[in-house]
């Protein structure tokens, strides 16, 4: 069976014309998950209530017309966002058995619109990593080459959309965790402006950098989902009151007359030539459509990785203090006193990368070192912000690679944390500056591996970013990876 729909628009049409029921739509994805996810490992939990909910929605649809394009739409959720009725594990032994008692705001809004949660997707433990190899729950494979990583930390959410295991998914991006796996898997991934989407119910990694965003097959779906989950919820005081409809308005139109900046710092040494060649073709597409390119300078961006690994780890060490084995989560049973209980629970409950970052963050904030590390990092962060501000006086968007290389092989960087950290070198500065950024598929490498083109915009310019992404998307076309699926009806692809 081929997919009854591929985008939100084709779903809406089929649903409203009764070409298929919501149950059909949800069952299609559940069957695919059942058939091929054993090989890919995108999901940690499949929602056992998905079909029930689909039937209920169908029943209601028989009486009342759907009031939202999302009514009945299946969506996958990264396993660091709370969904009532499903565990939130963060792919950590620490939370293996944790069940939230309320929904994240983004989930609440999806459910209110009538969406169906398919399940929870794999990730690097507590979103710390760039390959999903740091999951304590198992491997997620890149559908384009199962010997390669899907990227991370939102690897499962990226794979779910790339491999057709969900038409749409949510991830979270702290230093590139949406855009990098989107690039590696050949889908669109958007990190909204900091303050666009409520983080309530997203398990915090680095509170000042985390932002929830969509994975999708096309710009329009990313726009719809972002609009749906945006805006104040009265539970996250860092959310700003911006009208989401301004994204819709800015999405209309072409790139004609748009000025796109090319920071030379992002196209220098270290950029894989095949990636560079693909991005050159992308640039030509935008040029041909009337965009004007000009070189810009972002000199402090090259310190982004250094700054990021001080600020993000400092906040992470703080945010992860609550996992102490006292109230919920993993508790070591071999503890005779309070100190042992803390130490053993955390030693046994956290994986090595999480521990590394807690140690680094604790050090960066400790007495006597704070000025040297955390405060200094904040100063450089301000510089990066100012440089982007200046750049956006001259250009409408900034174009950059999403990743320095195509997806790498399992184990290739696992033992070299620094090499792994550098895979986020182009994505981190948007987080540090709080800016919206996306990765949209460019042409693949000659061997067929996905390449992502990154666009960074001024605050609140998601609509503009997606408009430019749509132009490229029309030229490149959406590619489906060659995965085969075992279903009751036999083998289909």
């Amino acid at each position: 069976m081929s997919a009854p729909f591929t985008t939100l628009e084709s779903f809406r049409k089929g649903r409203d014309e009764r070409a298929f029921s919501i149950e059909d739509a949800v069952r299609y994805y559940l069957d695919r998950i059942e058939g091929i996810d054993r090989a890919l490992g995108a999901y940690l939990t499949v929602n056992p209530n998905a079909l029930n909910r689909a039937r209920q929605l169908d029943n209601r649809l028989a009486r009342n017309p759907a009031n939202s394009p999302f009514y009945g739409y299946p969506v996958a959720i990264k396993d660091n966002m709370n969904v009532l009725g499903l565990p939130t594990t963060c792919a950590s032994r620490m939370l293996a058995n944790f069940r939230p008692i309320e929904n994240a705001t983004v989930v609440e809004r999806l459910l209110k619109a009538g969406a169906v949660i398919l399940g929870k997707t794999n990730m690097d433990e507590f979103a710390m990593g760039s390959s999903t190899e740091n999951s304590s729950m198992g491997v997620t494979r890149n559908p384009w080459d199962t010997g390669r990583v899907p990227g991370g930390s939102s690897g499962g959410s990226a794979v779910s959309v790339a491999a057709g295991l969900a038409p749409l998914s949510l991830g979270s991006d702290t230093g590139g965790s949406i855009r990098q796996p989107a690039a590696f898997c050949g889908v669109l991934g958007l990190k909204p402006t900091y303050g666009r989407v409520s983080r309530y119910g997203l398990v915090a990694f680095s509170s000042s950098l985390d932002q929830i965003g969509p994975f999708s097959r096309c710009a329009e779906d990313a726009l719809e989902l972002t609009v749906l989950v945006s805006g104040p919820d009265g539970r996250d005081m860092t959310v700003r009151d911006r009208d989401p409809q301004e994204m819709v308005r800015e999405f209309e139109g072409s790139v004609r007359g748009m000025t796109i900046g090319i920071p030379e710092e992002f196209f220098g040494d270290g950029l894989d030539p095949e990636v560079a060649a693909s991005l050159e073709r992308a640039r030509e597409v935008w040029s041909a459509e009337g965009a004007v390119f000009r070189p810009i300078r972002l000199p402090s961006a090259s310190f982004g990785v250094n700054v990021y690994y001080l600020i993000a780890t400092s906040e992470a060490a703080s945010n992860l203090s609550r996992y102490d084995g006292i109230r919920y989560g993993y508790r070591s049973l071999s503890s005779g006193n309070l100190k042992d209980l803390y130490q053993n629970s955390r030693r046994e409950g956290f994986g090595p990368e999480v521990k590394r970052r807690i140690l680094l963050g604790t050090f960066a904030l400790s007495a006597g070192y704070q000025d040297q590390y955390y405060r200094k990092a904040q100063q450089v962060q301000s510089l990066i912000r100012e440089e982007f501000d200046r750049a956006f006086h001259e250009v409408d968007l900034v174009f950059a690679p999403t990743t320095p290389t195509p997806p790498f092989r399992f184990g290739e960087k696992l033992d070299d944390p620094l090499a792994m950290y550098l895979s986020d070198i182009y994505t981190i500065s948007a987080n540090l500056a709080g800016l919206p950024a996306l990765s949209t598929p460019s042409w693949p490498t000659p061997s067929g591996l996905p390449v992502g083109a990154q666009l960074i915009g001024p605050a609140w310019s998601e609509g503009r970013l997606l408009r430019a992404a749509r132009v490229l998307e029309e030229a490149v076309g959406f590619r489906t990876p060659p995965v085969s699926v075992q279903t009751a009806g036999g083998k289909v692809s």
Partner: protein, 490 residues
């Protein structure tokens, strides 16, 4: 304490705020609920939750700042203070470190015969922790998180306090301000008003501070006084022996009246403060501050000045009344009632008020100290005291009789009216009745009268006694004095 040392004390008070809900979630802020009944994912520190600032707590902070003359900062910032403890669900406390809501200001305390200014260093907003419970549980400790996230103001004084008495007066006045402004109920037993002290000694006349010791766990004014006295003596003895005071935190043990070491400052925790990324800075609209200023009630020091003027009493006495708000309310109600009695009796109320205030500061205050605020209600409610005072003004009762009646009322829970009627106590001041008794006594004691008139003046007392006896004790003694003198000089 050796006289050559001067004691230097700074106090840190944690005061829970009278908000309806907690500081960062909408759980009820209330004492005494069953364990963990007042909790939600936010104050339990569940994964994914975020703090939502309660504006009411900020408003109460502004009120305290206005009442204490602090600088109210238009921008203040929350920070995270990290440490591991089972009663701290997030592993950090949200507090204000670098940019507190309030700095400066102060209050005036009694010091011996005079007064001294105690300056405020800073006042900041923070959340309370939960409570670990060990009593009555075997092989485990339980945690109650009802208190987790309850709003606190931490009020830090400058090290301006020099005696335990000043410390206690500072705490009483601070609590009074907190109560008057509706910021806190200041209840020490329920832990809504908690105090730590930093104590050091230095040679008299020195301007350098000695090594300070922090004292915790003093949960009554009496214990604060005791703990400071003990600590002062302990440090003085160390210094006298030429030993060093160790910088440490000590716990006051109320059963022994001693302070005991808890942890040394070398073991002090590194709290790794950094700005709370989940909360934007608190930015105050100056209009809001002005609105709160206009809504402030009469403040305790203003009330002292007013009462001392209106009643013509010393500021110290007015302070005693104002320190205890129910006493000053009682006084004001009693004065209202006294107006009525003055109107009925045809005398100016000013003739009664000094008697009323004196009666309050002596009789009522003594019983209040003994029995508490219950004696200000029921059979001895404010208007009953006015009745008693009016009887004295109208000379129908002597002051001593009124005091006796009051004492009987306290013990028997009856009204002064009932007691006066039952004991047939009303004083006889009528000149006709007094004149008859005096004439009888003069006639019946010719010898004594003769001797008095010849110069034996001490017989006057005997004759007064005879008149009182004749009246059955009801004669107004002042009037008897005057009328008897007149009779004897005739």
């Amino acid at each position: 304490m050796s006289a050559e040392y001067e004691m230097v004390v700074g106090l840190e008070v944690h005061s829970q705020l009278l908000t309806r809900t907690k500081l960062f979630c909408r759980c009820e802020n209330r004492f005494g609920a069953p364990p963990n009944a007042l909790t939600c994912p936010v104050c339990l520190g569940h994964p994914g939750v975020l703090p939502l600032l309660n504006e009411e707590a900020v408003r109460l902070g502004i009120r305290l700042g206005l009442a204490m003359g602090c600088s109210i900062h238009q921008r203040s910032v929350f920070d995270r203070k990290h440490y591991f403890y089972p009663d701290l669900p997030k592993g950090y406390q949200i507090s204000q470190f670098t940019y507190p809501l309030l700095t400066g200001g102060g209050l005036t305390v009694r010091s011996g015969e005079g007064t001294r200014e105690i300056r405020i260093h800073r006042i900041h907003l923070e959340e309370d922790a939960g409570k670990n419970m060990h009593a009555g549980i075997r092989d485990a400790s339980h945690v109650d998180l009802n208190r987790s996230g309850v709003p606190l103001l931490e009020i830090v004084s400058e090290p301006d306090i020099r005696t335990p008495e000043e410390a206690v007066d500072y705490l009483k006045k601070l609590r009074q301000i907190l109560r008057a402004t509706g910021v806190s109920d200041g209840n020490m037993e329920e832990g809504s008003f908690r105090c730590d002290a930093n104590v050091s000694l230095r040679p008299g006349g020195s301007s350098v501070f000695g090594t300070k010791v922090e004292i915790k766990n003093m949960n009554s004014f009496r214990f604060v006084h005791k703990a400071l006295l003990f600590e002062c003596e302990r440090q003085a003895q160390l210094l006298d022996r030429g030993e060093r005071v160790v910088s440490e935190t000590r716990l006051f043990d109320s059963s022994t009246g001693r302070t005991l070491p808890m942890r040394s400052k070398e073991e002090a925790l590194d709290y790794r403060y950094f700005p709370e990324p989940d909360l934007p800075p608190v930015v105050l609209d100056p209009k809001w501050i002005e609105e709160e200023r206009s809504r402030l009630p009469e403040l305790p020091h203003e009330r002292v000045a007013r009462l001392s003027g209106e009643f013509g009493i010393r500021e110290e006495d007015a302070e005693v009344l104002v320190l205890e708000e129910d006493l000053s309310r009682y006084l004001e109600e009693a004065r209202e009632a006294l107006h009525e009695y003055a109107g009925k009796g045809g005398w100016p109320v000013e003739q009664g008020t000094p008697r009323l205030v004196n009666f309050l500061l002596s009789e009522v205050l003594r019983e209040w100290n003994r029995k508490g605020p219950a004696i200000l209600t029921g059979s001895l409610a404010a208007r009953e005291i006015s009745y008693l005072v009016a009887l004295v003004v109208e000379e129908r009762l002597s002051l001593n009789q009124a005091k006796d009646v009051y004492a009987v009322c306290i013990e028997s829970l009856r009204t002064p009216r009932e007691v006066v009627a039952e004991k047939n106590l009303s004083q006889e001041s009528g000149e006709d009745a007094l004149g008859r008794w005096i004439d009888d006594v003069v006639r019946e004691n010719p010898g004594e009268v003769q001797s008095y008139r010849e110069g034996k003046e001490r017989l006057f007392g005997f004759l007064v006694g005879q008149v009182m006896k004749k009246s059955g004790g009801k004669a107004n003694p002042q009037k008897v004095n005057r009328l008897l003198k007149e009779a004897l000089s005739r």
